[in-house]
Symmetry: C2
């Protein structure tokens, strides 16, 4: 008997979520990702600031796969999806055919055409981004240490563009990394001359949070030494500076781009009209319009909540729930049942600023700030990380790191070196 073949492209929160819900379905599942690891994206900023090791934020996909008998994983880069012939093509394997397709390929950073950004900006969307940024930060300190005149050239200036959760979290973590750790590592260097500048084009940080959280966040960041510049838009990035639309200029070699996402470029040749940010528009059932066997979930999808026309944000929590819904829907289809519309359950949005300082936005409940919000943040992330498998020892280490503030080794391994 032919068992239907479910092909899941992408092993992020959405792809893994879909796979998990197909565990007991009478289907064969193939999961494809260009990496052999799943990335816990909400904590990438902690890899970049040396608080977490790569192997805690990235976990082997095969660890998840081993628990699921009807699933095979392959590490491959999809180059083309052919909806008409129902195949996905990659260079390393025979084309993969499917009965059901789950497109969960995620997004990539969106530089919105800013000149110099693709050459010089440091995005923070992948684990490779995070390790590159960490290496960049440490290398700037080594350079300034050897030649302090480089401080005048902006070697210790770090500019973060984008005042959403990613921008806020990396700014806060960087302040802590520099002012608590690197200051001890470089006793002869004027570390107090380093600057962390968080820039946003709007009038407030954390746009989706309530007013009091926005004010708390700005005050807290300034308290720990982050300069917050609002109403500034970037015009150009060079190897040694950022130039704003006002003509104002800041010397920096490290511009961290937390400015937004666009869908994986694979969607461009699908023959489908794309939504804002090149995202794939889906119906309330998360099916690609006109394709009753093609689901889309995660950052690549433009999902509206059904009640309003507003689209759901590109967050891990949306991706996990959408992935689960897709897996359940395919299981229902296989049993001859109808597919239900997707309903997002907003369990709150958080951003952490410093040890003991965070904001937590509940959809209908109170807004938490400060120590209580930070403890909630810690507990939720420990629980979520733990969900990936039997990673007890890593979590013990992470809990220890989180609450003690003791960091990983500050080493720069250049794999291209001799």
């Amino acid at each position: 008997m032919h068992r239907p073949h479910v092909l899941i492209l992408g092993a992020g929160f959405a792809g893994l979520g879909a796979a998990e819900k197909l565990k007991k379905a009478a289907v064969d599942v193939t999961l494809i990702d260009k990496n052999n690891y799943h990335t816990f994206q909400p904590l990438l900023y902690q890899v970049a600031t040396n608080l977490l090791d790569v192997d805690i934020v990235g976990s082997p996909i095969r660890d998840a796969v081993l628990k699921q008998d009807n699933l095979a994983f392959h590490q491959a880069s999809i180059s083309r999806i052919d909806l008409r012939n129902r195949i996905a093509v990659c260079a390393e394997m025979e084309p993969l055919s499917y009965d059901y397709l789950v497109i969960a390929l995620g997004a990539k950073v969106n530089f919105f055409g800013v000149k110099g950004a693709s050459e010089y900006a440091f995005p923070l969307y992948t684990l490779a981004d995070a390790t590159r940024l960490k290496k960049q930060i440490l290398t700037r300190f080594e350079i300034a240490d050897k030649d302090p005149s480089q401080i005048d050239n902006g070697a210790l200036n770090f500019v973060i563009v984008g005042g959403g959760p990613t921008g806020v979290e990396i700014s806060g973590a960087l302040a802590s990394f520099i002012n608590h750790d690197l200051i001890n590592d470089y006793p002869d260097l004027a570390v107090d001359r380093s600057r962390i500048i968080l820039v946003d084009g709007g009038t407030e940080l954390l746009r989706m949070f309530k007013d009091n959280s926005q004010v708390y966040t700005k005050n807290k960041l300034e308290e720990i030494g982050v300069e917050v510049m609002l109403g500034q838009r970037v015009n150009e990035i060079t190897s040694a500076s950022v130039i704003f639309q006002t003509g104002e200029q800041i010397k920096t070699h490290t511009l961290i781009w937390a400015g937004g996402l666009q869908a994986s470029p694979l969607v461009e040749n699908l023959g489908v009209e794309l939504a804002a940010g090149n995202r794939l528009p889906v119906g309330p059932d998360l099916l690609l319009l006109g394709h009753p066997n093609v689901y889309v979930a995660g950052d690549i999808a433009m999902i509206t909540d059904g009640k309003t026309a507003e689209s759901l944000p590109q967050l891990g929590s949306v991706a996990i729930q959408a992935g689960h819904h897709v897996g359940e829907s395919i299981a229902r289809q296989e049993k001859g049942k109808s597919v239900k519309p997707f309903k997002y359950r907003d369990k709150g949005t958080m951003a952490t600023i410093a040890k003991g300082a965070a904001v937590l936005q509940m959809p209908h409940g109170p807004t938490l700030t400060g120590e209580a919000a930070w403890l909630s943040w810690g507990a939720v992330h420990l629980a979520l990380l733990g969900g990936g498998g039997n990673r007890a020892s890593a979590l013990v280490k992470y809990g220890f790191t989180l609450f003690s503030g003791k960091r990983s080794s500050r080493i720069i391994v250049d794999e291209d070196a001799e």
Copy 2:
């Protein structure tokens, strides 16, 4: 008052050893290394086989430096040493002058002119080497998993050249990694068709060990699945094979070179006649001949034990003791005392083969093999790693890893990727 300036080039075992013994001397010390971390080289093979994390085998030099008030560290690559003008030159800083120079720049792999080796062989001397090799091993399994016909092309064949401690240890560790871990990660792959082949041109493994250790090692390796080929010399390495001088050929994409070292190329323009392997010959006091203020220690030095003309091996234990001797000698010179000749105290040489299996060669005592040797090995290495600073949590993790066999995450982060 002018305090004499001691310039130490290289923060390996020898350089750090010298620095440590100058802690209380009335000198200013500058330590230079091209990396910002010290590498615990005896355990590199464990990074390559995923048993240890990069941040345990590499430790921040600044952690050691912070404890020493008279020492400054800079990360820089020395391009030239000018003995006549008493300066060391690097691109990133002003030339560094010195009153005393300690050359402890280590070695690099020696391919002995074998064709294709520099392009295709994987050496194992640096932390970057170890991470590259780990990535290569995991990538071969991913490739074979996608296209099992690649096994016929040698994707799962691993050839190790050199039957000294490095070759023996990486062979044993690789057998354990493949047969205990990767076999579970790739349930659909014929992992049992992988081959590990340890090749040496001589008639036995571990030449410096006694006969019974050599026999034990060969038997133990074969027992855990390593093929041992003696009396075979490599003629050429290609991207997909190794060709021996007999014309015999083995398909492989992963040739691990544990075949020997040559001194850092910086010694070539010193105007000094070099010894075998380009090493710098030193007197019994570890001074460069004709230069009463230039010491040489570690893998870059050709040190004879004074009693015979035989040179001491390029081992961590020799480097540490030589480094200590150099530091003590400079401190003595500064006090107007005479310099003593260096005496190497052989505390034994070890190699580990598998969990519960190792060989331990004492200079005048018994030869240990098996479980007892392995436990000694574990204890000694835990103690040595701990010597580098307050690294308690890393060591707890390492001890746990060592005795439980539980491994780090098997993830491949490609920093060059998008």
